[in-house]
């Protein structure tokens, strides 16, 4: 479950520039901006796909189209052969930050995912199970703003997983976390992936995130986004680019591809 096929995907939008003036003081005309151009990609079911690319290249747009929040200009996304066009609990989006509803406690937020469950005992046990899984015992009745950044992300992860979705779509899930929390969250997501085997699409700016986590690394070019690299990574976990020469090689290749001449 969770095989994804992206066919000939294009996304354009019209940038309004009427309020801007050119050198002669005339209003500029609107222009079409192409964000994604003829994108073809295929991800296997259960893969953790890490998508890298320069800022503003359309990575997030791609994720939002896959999630069904935005419609492509042309082309399509197929999940197990069915066309994806609207948001559904099968594919849960995990936000950069503030994805939790701030007026609900951790418990209430997680409950959203299984609110239609008819057996209240089962519902309660499931929520508690996921809260325990992301180690938020004792914080069930805290509001998001009372939690640290890392705890907020973990709560959101629990809310996403409790639905038992086919796929998780994560848009820079570690940005804004301090270094140690970042490392810890990364490890948790890898373990969660190894354990549950769900398809995960994850956009990141961090090359090491991609190399350590990904079953596949996709690099997109600057706008309009096209696939520059699509490579399967067959390395066992836990990984460390510093001790695996092949990973280190790939790391340098990726740095070069993204316009940095030597790996930092």
């Amino acid at each position: 479950m969770g095989h994804i096929l992206i066919e000939n995907l294009n996304k354009e939008f019209i940038e309004r520039r009427q309020h801007k003036r050119d050198k002669e003081g005339r209003p500029e005309s609107d222009r079409t901006v192409t964000v994604l151009e003829d994108l073809d990609l295929e991800f296997e079911a259960g893969e953790m796909v890490c998508i890298l690319g320069p800022s503003g290249c359309g990575k997030s747009t791609l994720l939002r189209i896959i999630a069904g929040f935005e419609q492509p200009s042309s082309g399509r996304v197929l999940q197990d052969g069915r066309q994806l066009s609207k948001p559904s609990p099968d594919n849960i989006f995990v936000y950069q930050h503030n994805g939790l509803l701030p007026w609900m406690t951790v418990w209430q937020n997680i409950e959203l995912g299984i609110r239609r469950l008819e057996d209240p005992v089962e519902q309660e046990e499931t929520i508690q199970e996921y809260i325990d899984m992301v180690e938020l015992e004792g914080f069930e009745h805290h509001y998001p703003h009372q939690l640290s950044g890392g705890m907020q992300r973990r709560a959101e992860l629990a809310r996403a997983l409790v639905v038992n979705p086919e796929m998780l779509i994560m848009d820079e899930p570690f940005s804004g976390l301090d270094f140690l929390t970042h490392m810890k969250m990364r490890e948790e997501v890898v373990n969660m992936h190894l354990y549950l085997g769900k398809t995960i699409l994850l956009v990141t700016h961090n090359i090491d995130d991609a190399l350590i986590m990904g079953d596949r690394v996709v690099i997109l070019s600057g706008r309009p986004a096209q696939v520059k690299l699509n490579r399967k990574l067959d390395f066992p976990h836990p990984r460390d680019p510093k001790t695996a020469p092949k990973l280190q090689e790939l790391r340098e290749e990726i740095f070069f591809m993204l316009g940095v001449s030597y790996a930092v």
Binding site: A67, G68, F69, K86, P87, S88, P89, N91, I92, F93, Y95, N98, G99, L101, P102, W103, M104, T105, L112, G113, H142, Y143, P144, H145, Q146, V163
Partner: protein
């Protein structure tokens, strides 16, 4: 320097100072006690008007009008504001009309409202309604429009029904802004009721003031003013209690 004295001491001191100033002005300004009664005379009249029930009757009449007009404004303005916030075509249609009507003072409606609704409570209630309807409507529209779109994406992602989007996203997200708007508009409504009562009715605190002026009883006029101030304070106090709802909705209660 931060003082450890309780806050009410400062409030009491300010009120006492104002009273003293009033007393001094009354005594030494050269105006007669008929034109500028001092606090003592006003207190005596206050006791007199409370004792014979006049004050209670007029206060209840004013409060009734404010409550009726304000509730009407709430029950029409807030839902309409929610619709305008969510529906762009409706907003494009109705917003210009609202922004045209909004700057017209409710008092400018007095002649028409008297013609339409006659003499009695209705024209006053209509004016109160007008005075709070537009602020509530505009504040709600803006509140709905400034909801973070992420929350609606979450709603879609988790398959919320329309009702769920309303009760779980729109209502809690807008409560803080709406409570603030309620606080501001009850004050405006209270300002307007007194003005409205000077024209169209035979009861209420505004009427008391106007009637006392005609009888040249400036002590009664001042009693009316004092009571208006006190009730205004009370209304604001009640509205401030609503802030607790806002805090509860966003979980900031423990953070004060």
């Amino acid at each position: 320097m931060e003082s450890s004295k309780p806050a009410f001491i400062y409030t009491a001191a300010a009120f006492l100072g104002a009273l003293a100033l009033w007393e001094l002005t009354a005594r030494f300004s050269g105006w007669s006690a008929q034109i500028f009664p001092g606090p003592g005379a006003v207190l005596a009249s206050l006791i007199e008007l409370t004792g014979n029930g006049t004050l209670i009757r007029h206060s209840i009449a004013s409060l009734y009008r404010v409550t009726a007009g304000f509730y009407l404004a709430m029950f029409l303005g807030i839902p309409l504001g929610m619709c305008l916030g969510r529906c762009k075509p409706l907003r494009l249609m109705i917003n210009p009309v609202i922004h045209f009507l909004r700057p017209i003072s409710p008092l400018a409606w007095i002649p028409l409202s008297m013609l339409w609704f006659g003499i009695g409570d209705l024209p006053a209630i209509f004016l109160i309604f007008l005075s709070s309807f537009f602020p509530l409507l505009v504040a709600t529209t803006i509140a709905v429009r400034s909801i973070n779109p992420v929350y609606f994406q979450v709603a879609n992602n988790f398959n919320f029904s329309r009702l769920e989007s309303f009760t779980k996203i729109m209502v809690p997200a807008t409560i803080p802004a709406i409570v603030t708007a309620l606080r501001l508009s009850i004050t405006i409504a209270w300002l307007v009721v007194v003005a409205a009562e000077m024209i169209a009715v035979q009861s209420g605190l505004g009427y008391l003031i106007l009637d006392s002026r005609n009888a040249l009883r400036m002590d009664y006029v001042m009693v009316g003013m004092v009571v208006i101030g006190v009730i205004g304070l009370l209304l604001d106090y009640i509205m401030r209690q609503l802030m607790n709802i806002e805090s509860a909705a966003w979980g900031t209660l423990g953070h004060k």
